[in-house]
Subunit: 644 residues, 2 copies
């Protein structure tokens, strides 16, 4: 029994926590080292760099031709050319060569008349210093090349070498010790997907934070993974501080649970300054100091860990090297749907962003701190301040971008129903149209039609059965989008049916068995085409919702339904065959349906939409779809209907 | 005698040359290699990455507390609490642990009444799946994590590991062979500033291009430096192609001179596609193909080499890895002064950019392709198309930024007269006010006053002597800035005098000796305070311009005047003592003058200007000024006059 609990210190806001961090540690700077300039790319100068030689360090010919004393050429013109003697009044020079003594100008070879081996004629005078790079023209010895704290880029390396500065004094890269903790964690080196047991989690935060350290100019060392044990963790932290790391991060165990040892470790060795920040994700962040070394307790959920790093550890690492904050590109976006948010905590909302109709529209991704894919799928992050309760649909708010704006602008935004072939399409379009991409989010077929109405997407995936005539989508378009001219293009025909545990233990033979054999069902959300299909099928069988155990349990995608069946949460669910095949589950076909794309006429001719349609029509896409199983491509890419 | 010349092929425009490059080589891609995910940061996926395990791969507690079957809790409320038995109907779980079989919800520890060691009470029911991270909530096995050509960042590494993808198939980094050529070049490893002779040039392009290759995801190998010899260069290029480099660059020798061997080398081994591009700098660029290997002839001037790389070689290296073009931040700027430009070539104009008066103002830097400092001092680059003859002052044009906009906005723009202490100030302000900086350009004292009038700078350095009363600056402010309220703040008192060759070979004892001993003078540009001082001094001595040999030779800074004397171009120049001391020249004092900053009242209170004034007034700045020699700091930082 584990009931002993830590408690959060008073939680503080992000700004207050950042101020505290910099008050305690803002004076820290990494040491200074001397490097060859050629090794110093992206380093920060610890002292001003002053040229020790001039560039050029001589008067140099800036053209191929002859060097002359300009005065000796005065008076030459095309009626009265002058002749010069090689070796006496004129000297051959190539670009870059030293001007011979007594000369102060170069005449280009193109302007010379070569009279004989020793004599040339000119028809115009040279003015003094023409086509000459004068000594010190670029750099004068003793001049300041760069002030301290200048970050050395490729150009700067050239200027330093040209100014005779071959070694520079730069800030050391901070050393960070990362200590992953958690008895449930496995090193990726120690497992294979096949040997992983339920409860095993692959440690990934150490890798992510190591990469983020690199992005912030720091070198991370990952400690061997530690069990949840106070003494072991304390010893590792203490060793890290003694070894002179510039920062120590304990991964996991920063919360207030009984096995969260970050707090006692830091308290035993030093002092805690902040435990708990009113932000989401990332609330359980803590930091303190052991001697002069900042020590972070980084939350274990992957998104929390990243937010904690980027808000706190990262900026401090930059400051230690006198580097400016990382630049974030910020744009104004409008949420497609209203966003709710709790007062009293600042939220980092991950959003997809689409450039639709000349505006940037955002749709929110799931908020769970445990879902790394909410960051990898995000195009941007909206910070909702703690005093704001939510954002109205359509209101403009700031989002900082995680992908370049031009990539977002080359992306086709697809919403509506989910289908596995959209993933294939996302890969295939990159092959056939480099630079183009698709971004898909799943709000169900009806949700897709509503998003089209709000101009929040370029197209919507749709498979809405009309129970009256057995047709798909067209009657819904007529009813719900009467004023929006659209085209309906078939993506795939697909088999929908019951996804059942491997071996079909309940011996489900038909849809009505769900009710008759009291199999726990996993349903889809209202408004999804599959939900409509299920309700229609129940009715056909003379059943109702009340007859189905688990009718109220909802998932949002076919794959989630399949996972629910795989994990034992449910004994059956309605979904596409591809999802059952992917997880090696049993499948009982119910219907073959048309999964189509509804494309508003105003977007149909956009180059990126045309690129998408070409990709859909390609033989390779169709082959890849067929390889998934459960699909038909007889009509793939065909226009089925046009409401113009 | 060297008169054999290559000729340029027909020169082509940038776009045409780029099109040709991609037509010939755009199909090239680097090979594929398998890397551990932890080694794959910033690499590009060569194949789609598909999850092989779900994350989580089990139903996991999302809170510390007890796991229960939700149904067993139904009906509990504060009037009728329910009790649960540990080990039977309730199971202790910590966040992240596997949900025991038969449970489907977690009740937070904060909501439990612990009755005895085996019994807990609850006063509210749990709903199914509350505080549970369901299997596959983040990632479902078989789902597409990233399509091909996705660049792997820190977040992506986390998603890959979480999805059981421990190794990835990525594009190899292109290998580039850089072959520096040029008999005049010295490797920095082989010289010291002391041992360099006139005509020796430190090779820097190989270092710059190696760093640029790194910025473009490529690995450069630098060949030993080669003499200007056809056979040697040809052998090195041929070896490089045979060894399988993805690209070969010959540095230098791409022009049309007699010792420019890049063209014959490429022609002998393969084919030239472009020789000469109508751009400046960078015109002598050439490229061709040897087999399937692109080979570049990169011009030797440093800015030309960089432009050639960034316009051609760099984008090709990115394309080989399926990386998108590097992002350039573009802003609208207004030139302070009219910019002239020749028709028929596209110019890359390096400019300083200042945020003055809410606008971004640009001032052009020198245009020489040989001056690397024109890039390192630049804040941005304006591309002037080949069909445009110039840019009017004040007209808005696009500039792409070389420094972040916020750094530009934190920069005090100083123009007018040049003084060496401005360099010190530039370094000192970084020490005292991190993030702040100054940007100084030199247009002479009168030019500075005119720039203030046009609101093109925050302040101007000024040392204009009024011959009538011996005062400095005030009478000029009254005359030329009658409508602009300004403050006049002293920066330094400084000695002006004759800068003379070491040892004073002409035995110059007074200013009039210049004329009497017929010493070649090096003058400053009209409008500079020093020019006005010289003209005044000549008049005082009963002399005129005609009496001074070299009066018409002009330089723009004190250091350039000193260099002219050092190099023997001139026997004397008028300038500040600090310049003479820096180059160890002789100095004959003529006058001590007041070098002041003219600061418009509207900018005086800006935080960055106040930071600058604080820095000027600091004891450390004054000490550093005194260490230069030739300066007095009695009035440094004092307000001398206010025209309010």
């Amino acid at each position: 029994m584990e009931t002993k609990r830590n408690v959060y210190l008073n939680m503080v806001g992000i700004q207050q926590a950042q101020d505290c961090l910099f008050e305690k540690f803002g004076h820290l700077e990494t040491g200074v080292q001397t490097l060859d300039v050629v090794q110093a790319q992206n380093r920060v100068l610890a002292a001003p760099a002053v040229a020790v030689i001039s560039s050029p360090n001589f008067h140099a010919a800036a053209m191929d031709g002859v060097a002359v004393d300009a005065e000796s050429t005065f008076g030459a013109n095309d009626e009265a050319p002058k002749s010069l003697t090689i070796g006496k009044t004129a000297f051959w020079v190539n670009t870059g060569q030293v001007l011979p003594d007594g000369t102060n100008a170069v005449i280009m070879i193109e302007h010379l008349n070569i009279l004989d081996e020793n004599t040339i004629g000119i028809e115009a005078p040279a003015f003094p210093w023409q086509y000459v790079r004068k000594m010190g023209e670029d750099i004068v010895a003793t001049q300041l090349l760069f002030p301290r704290d200048h970050k050395i880029n490729a150009y700067a390396m050239g200027a330093l070498l040209s100014g005779g500065v071959f070694k520079v004094s730069v800030r050391k890269r901070p050393g960070v010790l990362i200590i992953p903790t958690g008895s449930e964690l496995k090193r990726w080196q120690d497992v294979t997907p096949e040997t992983m047991k339920p409860g095993d989690v692959v440690e990934s935060n150490a890798t992510v934070l190591t990469a983020l350290c690199a992005d912030h100019g720091a070198d991370a060392t990952v400690n061997p993974m530690l069990e949840d044990d106070l003494q072991t963790i304390q010893a590792a932290v203490s060793d890290g501080v003694d070894q002179g790391y510039d920062m120590v991060m304990i991964l996991g165990g920063s919360s207030a649970g009984s096995k969260d040892y970050s707090k006692p470790v830091i308290e035993n060795l030093g002092r805690i300054y902040v435990h708990g920040v009113t932000m989401m994700p990332g609330k359980p962040l803590m930091f303190g100091g052991i001697g002069d070394t900042p020590v972070f307790g980084i939350p274990g959920y992957p998104v929390s860990a990243i937010v904690a790093f980027e808000m706190f550890a990262g900026p401090l690492l930059l400051a230690m090297q006198h580097l400016p904050p990382l630049k974030q590109e910020v744009v104004a976006v409008s949420p497609v749907r209203k966003v709710a948010s709790k007062l009293g905590r600042e939220e980092f909302l991950r959003v997809k962003i689409g450039a639709v109709d000349g505006r940037l529209m955002s749709s929110q991704l799931p908020r769970g701190a445990g879902s790394i894919t909410t960051l990898t799928e995000a195009d941007g992050i909206i910070r909702i301040p703690q005093h704001v309760e939510g954002i109205e649909a359509g209101k403009k708010v700031q989002a900082h971008l995680l992908r370049p704006l031009d990539a977002i602008e080359n992306t086709v935004v697809i919403t509506g129903s989910h289908d596995n072939t959209l993933d294939l399409l996302s890969d295939q379009i990159r092959l056939e149209h480099p630079g183009m991409g698709i971004s898909s989010s799943h709000v169900g077929s009806m949700g897709g039609l509503m998003t089209i109405k709000k101009r929040g997407c370029h197209m919507a995936g749709c498979h809405l059965l009309d129970p009256d005539d057995g047709t798909y989508n067209i009657s819904y378009i007529k009813k719900y989008l009467p004023d929006v001219p659209v085209r309906l293009v078939n993506l795939v025909m697909r088999q929908q049916g019951l996804i059942l545990p491997k071996g079909n233990p309940d011996k489900v033979k038909r849809l009505s068995d769900i009710a008759e054999k009291n199999v726990t069902f996993i349903n889809r959300q209202p408004g999804s085409g599959t939900r409509i299909l299920f309700d229609f099928s129940l009715k056909e069988n003379g059943l109702s919702a009340a007859d189905v155990s688990g009718y109220e349990n909802e998932e949002y995608t076919h794959m989630s339904v399949a996972v629910a069946v795989l994990s034992g949460r449910a004994g059956a669910g309605l979904g596409i065959k591809a999802a059952a095949l992917a997880l090696k589950l049993d499948f009982l076909p119910v219907v073959t349906e048309s999964y189509d794309l509804v494309i508003p006429e105003i977007y149909y001719h956009l180059p990126k939409v045309q690129a998408l349609i070409c990709t859909i029509q390609s033989a390779e896409f169709k082959q890849r779809v067929m390889a998934l199983g459960g699909y038909g491509v007889e009509q793939t890419g065909e226009e089925l209907f046009r409401s113009v």
